[in-house]
């Protein structure tokens, strides 16, 4: 726990305020019938897939290639998440299946 309780509170407050603002902004700007600028609509459409791809790479930043345990568990569990999702299309099965497999791999197989 690297943060003090006050620092944690400040971080949570920032997350809460910014999250609310992203939800409130359309109502603040366009609730009187104005049309949003086309570039906003465009970025709203193309930014999400790019940001999610970015976050996937961010999640995998700790991967190392010096030992099999450094890269095989995230590779196997990541492929499992994708394949489960293509097969069943159920968020829960994909997330829980892959996470459980990952936990088994890092706690048992490659420990």
């Amino acid at each position: 726990m690297p943060l003090t309780p006050i620092q944690t509170l400040a971080s949570i407050a920032v997350m809460a305020v910014v999250t609310f603002l992203t939800r409130a902004l359309p109502f603040l700007l366009f609730d009187r019938g104005d049309h949003p600028p086309k570039v906003v609509l465009y970025l709203g459409r193309v930014l999400p897939p790019a940001v999610i791809a970015m976050l996937i790479v961010y999640c995998l930043k700790g991967v190392t290639f010096s030992t099999p345990g450094g890269w095989l568990p995230p590779l196997i569990a990541g492929l499992t998440a994708v394949l489960l999702h293509l097969w069943k299309g159920n968020d829960l099965i994909s997330i829980f299946g892959a996470t459980a497999l990952y936990m088994v791999l890092v706690q048992g197989v490659f420990a």
Binding site: T8, F27, P73
Partner: protein, 237 residues
């Protein structure tokens, strides 16, 4: 809001009940294993109330990220909410003070339910929307509490539970990939982040990556504007 309204809203929210319990439990587990207990889980789920935002929040707290970075990354991961609000302008009109809560609680799942939901006969539509939103958040808080308590229960080794965040983003990416008219934004996002990781290292990789992404997408706009989405994008947590 009366029992009749709640009873009408509940069946509609059952898929979200399942989803939010599961993803909330994973969130509670992650936060607990990062060192923050059940009180913090409740506080975050009450005040932030965002699936991928709170998952990212755990890693930002664990990394001791500076507030400007927390603000910027929260903004980016929640950017899609801008689009949700645009399509709810009409629906929330005339809801008075409850409109503030409706805007606050406009998650992917609640958006998905509200964008297609119709109140049954005899139930006020605004009461119905409010009940759906309130039920959804109660599931989310409940899941967070269960996960946090499970994580603190004796003898439960939570090593590796943080992979739930990776899996969540992969699942969202699969859905987006299938719905996208062009895969260029997703590929660009991955490539820009890898380049940033190699150039500046794991600690500071996200801001340069976002800069490259926004600049490149703006430059590519003439090309990408011609590739409309094939179908409604499936919302994810």
């Amino acid at each position: 809001m009366n029992r009749k309204t709640l009873a009408a809203a509940f069946p509609l929210t059952i898929p979200v009940l399942m989803g939010y319990l599961a993803i909330g439990i994973a969130f509670g587990l992650m936060l607990q294993s990062a060192g923050w207990g059940v009180g913090w889980a409740v506080l975050m789920s009450l005040t932030i109330y965002a699936g991928s935002g709170q998952y990212l929040g755990v890693s930002l707290l664990a990394a001791g990220a500076a507030l400007p970075q927390v603000a910027f990354l929260t903004l980016m991961v929640n950017f899609r909410h801008l689009v949700y609000g645009l399509s709810m302008l009409e629906k929330f009109r005339g809801m008075g003070l409850r409109k503030l809560y409706m805007i606050f609680s406009l998650t992917d799942e609640t958006y998905a339910l509200l964008s297609s939901a119709r109140a049954p006969a005899g139930v006020d539509e605004h009461d119905f929307f409010f009940a759906v939103a309130l039920l959804d958040q109660s599931y989310w808080v409940l899941g967070s509490v269960i996960g946090s308590l499970l994580g603190s229960a004796l003898g439960f080794d939570t090593t590796g539970v943080d992979f739930a965040m990776t899996a969540l983003f992969l699942v969202i990416a699969v859905g987006q990939w299938k719905a996208a008219g062009s895969h260029l934004p997703a590929l660009l996002g991955g490539a820009a982040t890898l380049i940033s990781l190699l150039l500046v290292g794991a600690e500071d990789m996200l801001l340069p990556a976002l800069g490259i992404i926004v600049a490149a997408l703006t430059l590519l706009r003439p090309r990408l504007e011609r590739a409309p989405a094939r179908e409604e994008e499936k919302p994810c947590p």
